[in-house]
């Protein structure tokens, strides 16, 4: 069912429940975003696409990438509140990744000439999650994921060992908005290509996945055996 919504004074027809950002794009209105892509499900993590929505006479700030359009909705994409949020978010991201060209361009466009945040990091990945979601939803492989929590969050393969499911398609390299994923051909295992995700190097397993003969694996199991033996010993002492 089509509904009509008003974006910055323009009337736009759109499917009911479709994200507001699609309606804006239809109307030729630019909304900045770093984590949205038409090919995959909306995620709502960068918060740059926030707009002000008036619905049932109530005004609220929502992310246009995943807020469903309803008839009679009025949307404002460039209000002082919206501008302030976008500025602070770009400042925050720029403090994390000072050298990413895309962010520097955005900062110039928004008139940010000085970053007020003092803690500067030299990262390149903004954790938008596009690569992870693309790999899972479009490629259907799921070789990479988001590991850890909070400030420690990072893109990685499971347990940070080289992925044996990665097909080396390069989608992640293509979709990454900051260009922090690099593809390097690997001669030993041509199917797998080495990717550099920021500082993390995803090199293939040095033992060609022969876990049963691997010394790393053996040491690991020795450790586990020792821990279990210790635990049982303690348990016995405690119960006797």
């Amino acid at each position: 069912m089509k509904v009509a919504i008003i974006i910055d004074g323009q009337r736009v027809q759109i499917d009911r429940g479709a994200p507001i950002i699609d309606a804006a794009r239809k109307a030729g209105i630019f909304i900045p975003t770093l984590c949205y892509h038409e090919a995959i499900k909306a995620y709502g993590s960068c918060r740059l696409c926030m707009v002000e929505v008036i619905q049932n006479r109530q005004s609220r700030l929502v992310t246009s990438c995943n807020f469903p359009a309803e008839g009679g909705m009025e949307v404002f994409t460039d209000t002082p509140r919206v501008r302030k949020i976008r500025r602070v978010i770009v400042e925050l991201l720029l403090a994390r990744c000072p050298d990413v060209p895309l962010l520097r361009t955005m900062a110039v466009q928004m008139g940010i000439d000085f970053n007020r945040f003092r803690k500067k990091e030299g990262k390149e990945c903004i954790l938008c999650g596009l690569c992870v979601r693309f790999c899972e939803e479009v490629v259907g492989v799921g070789a990479i994921g988001l590991a850890n929590r909070g400030t420690e969050r990072e893109v990685a393969t499971p347990f940070k060992v080289a992925s044996d499911v990665c097909i080396g398609c390069g989608s992640c390299t293509y979709i990454c908005p900051t260009g922090c994923i690099e593809m390097v051909p690997d001669e030993e295992t041509p199917k797998l290509r080495r990717m550099n995700l920021g500082k993390l190097s995803l090199s293939p397993c040095p033992n060609k996945y022969q876990c049963e003969t691997c010394s790393i694996e053996q040491e690991f199991f020795e450790d586990i055996k020792r821990v279990i033996a210790d635990f049982r010993g303690n348990h016995k002492r405690a119960s006797s």
Partner: protein, 616 residues
């Protein structure tokens, strides 16, 4: 054999349990949950040993119960039928309690609670000021029944509300009773529970879920924990009623794995309820089926957020997702789901039994019923308190809590956990309910209350909570992940003496964006500690930034310890204890601290008997 098939069967069981009870038998109730931290399990062991030794098994029953609330005075032992209230009982006291109190009926004065001002002994729980102002509805069973024995719960009218809803009420009537009672979610958000149930019961779909949120993670809070430990059946009963109301046949209790006793007692309660036919197929002959299971959380604070909690149950890493769609329409596995706090569910049986009118008469106009708070920090009587909403902070902190320790002055109270705010002395007469707290820049949260005195630095408190949240943020959205990181950096700089002009404004600006732009409530409420401390204690921030001084003497770079010459009598205690050898002076003459060597460990400050050491 035990399985109850009808409502009258439940009533018969209740009567037979009550009949079995020997009125002559002395029951000794001992907290076997929270008080374990003070070795209450050793006290229980001692009782059992002495009873066997003296062959008193027929006359005395030892009952390990849940929390009595007065944690400060634990381990707590109550001797029935007279209900003599003993506190701080040690295993050595057990023989005396048996020989004097149980056998001779004498009260042991050294173990009863004494008024700190008058030194008058108080024998009964009901006369202790800590309990006097409380109104126990949800926690009334905790401390009274054995949480591992379903018959104990049935004896105190347990599962009667379930029988009433299943036989005398339609699901819609149960929903409307919850709406009419005015109960709001006890997890912190304060969304009306009945409305949530109504939305979910109207949502299309055959499969629905009901979830209890027991993922309590606030520092210093243990309300949900002690409910799950002390009265698990009331939560289970509330959930079955909720499931009946919304049409869910499956329930899940999400408990963090750091709560082993809660998991043990809940699993035990679920097993017993299944054996008695109160869970499973055709409950009490009503043709209503309901099963319940426990899902253990790995202890991430963010998993207390409803969407993250459901994602965690589904087996993925707990990160919140955007709403809409709301869980009542599309929740766990994409099905309509109701998620309530365990305390909310524990309220439900009481509402059903006594009616919505009874419940809505308790509390204020916007917040009905009672709320359990965990009162901790620099207050004299720490513990769990349940009060009617609308009770003032002054009543909670000064009358129930007994005021501030060591005669110091009250400075602020942090309500609602890390995402709550600090409320100053000027607001102490404020009634505690959802709306007034929000107006004051704090939140009800799940009910943590951390009391602070003049030795707490408010900038440092804000830094502490922001640090906690920074580590607990899931890291999905930028304002929360990057915002908390920067906010922590600014606060750390201020606390270490590197604050700059404009920092307060930058903090406020950043906080404003985090509040409006964050994806979930964790990020949205995370700036509260900063905003509320700036609002009420701006002078402290300014003292840190401009004068490079920490008035409370907490931030180590911003103060010095000095010895007051007039007060110091040269006892040499500080000199002996100083790990740095920074204190010098002759016996019986005023000592001096060498600021170059002092590491501000605070040992001299806390041991000086004449309070001669000052913060400068």
């Amino acid at each position: 054999m035990k399985r109850i098939r009808t409502v009258s069967g439940l009533e018969e069981l209740r009567v037979s349990i009550l009949k079995k009870k020997d009125p002559e038998k002395t029951i000794i109730r001992i907290c076997n949950t929270g008080c374990r931290a003070r070795r209450s399990s050793k006290v229980i062991e001692a009782f059992k040993r002495v009873i066997v030794d003296q062959a008193l098994q027929d006359r005395i029953e030892i009952k390990g119960t849940g929390c009595h609330g007065f944690c400060e005075m634990g381990p707590i032992v109550v001797v029935e039928p007279a209900n003599i209230f003993y506190c701080r009982v040690r295993p050595e006291d057990v023989a005396d309690i048996l020989s004097e109190t149980v056998l001779k009926g004498k009260v042991l004065e050294r173990l009863v609670w004494k008024d700190p001002h008058t030194k008058e002994p108080v024998i009964f729980e009901k006369d202790i000021p800590f309990y006097k102002k409380q109104k126990k509805i949800v926690s009334h069973n905790s401390g009274r029944i054995d949480p591992t024995d379903i018959e104990d719960y049935i004896a105190v009218e347990g599962y009667k509300a379930l029988a009433k809803s299943l036989t005398a009420m339609t699901p819609a009537e149960v929903v409307e009773t919850a709406v009419a009672s005015g109960i709001r979610g006890r997890g912190g958000g304060g969304f009306p529970t009945g409305i949530k149930w109504r939305i979910c019961s109207n949502a299309p779909g055959d499969t629905k879920y009901i979830i209890a949120n027991g993922d309590e993670g606030d520092p210093g809070a243990f309300m949900d924990r002690s409910l799950m430990e002390g009265d698990p059946h009331s939560i289970i009963e509330g959930m079955i009623i909720g499931g009946y109301a919304i049409g869910a046949r499956q329930g899940i209790i999400y408990v963090r794995d750091e709560y082993p006793i809660a998991i043990m007692h809940l699993s035990c309660a679920i097993k017993q309820a299944e054996e008695y036919g109160l869970l499973g197929r055709d409950i009490l002959g009503s043709a209503f089926d309901f099963t319940l299971k426990i899902s253990r959380g790995a202890g991430a604070f963010v998993c207390g957020e409803e969407t993250a909690l459901m994602i965690s149950i589904e087996g993925r890493s707990g990160t919140p997702r955007s709403r809409p769609p709301y869980p009542a329409i599309e929740g766990l596995w994409g099905k309509p789901t109701v998620l309530n706090n365990v305390e909310t569910f524990a309220n439900i049986p009481q509402i059903i039994l006594n009616g919505a009118t009874w419940y809505s008469a308790i509390g204020t106009s916007g917040s009905k019923g009672t709320k359990i708070f965990s009162l901790v920090g620099k207050v004299r009587n720490t513990g769990l308190v349940e009060v009617e909403t609308g009770t003032t902070l002054r009543e909670i902190i000064f009358e129930i809590g007994g005021g501030i320790r060591k005669g110091r002055r009250f400075k602020a109270v942090q309500t609602g956990g890390p995402s709550g705010g600090c409320i100053p002395i000027s607001k102490i007469d404020m009634p505690v309910d959802y709306d007034s707290l929000r107006e004051a820049g704090a939140i009800m949260g799940s009910g943590g209350m951390i009391v602070m005195d003049e030795t707490s630095c408010m900038v440092d408190v804000a830094r502490y909570f922001i640090n906690f949240l920074m580590f607990e943020s899931c890291g999905k959205c930028v304002p929360c992940r990057e915002g908390l990181k920067q906010m922590h950096e600014i606060l750390k700089n201020i606390c270490e003496g590197r604050g700059q002009r404009g920092d307060i404004e930058l903090l406020s600006d950043l906080a404003g964006v985090m509040t409006t732009a964050s994806l979930c409530a964790l990020g949205g409420t995370a700036p509260n500690p900063v905003l509320s401390t700036i609002r009420y204690f701006r002078d402290e921030y300014e003292a840190h930034i401009f004068d490079k001084k920490c008035p409370a003497g907490v931030c180590k770079n911003l103060f010095e310890y000095v010895i007051d010459e007039e007060r110091c009598n040269g006892c040499t205690l500080c000199q002996l204890r100083c790990p740095q050898g920074a204190i010098s002076g002759e016996k019986k003459k005023p000592h001096v601290i060498d600021p170059e060597r002092c590491i501000k460990c605070g040992i001299c400050y806390s041991i000086c008997k004449r309070e001669a050491i000052r913060v400068k």
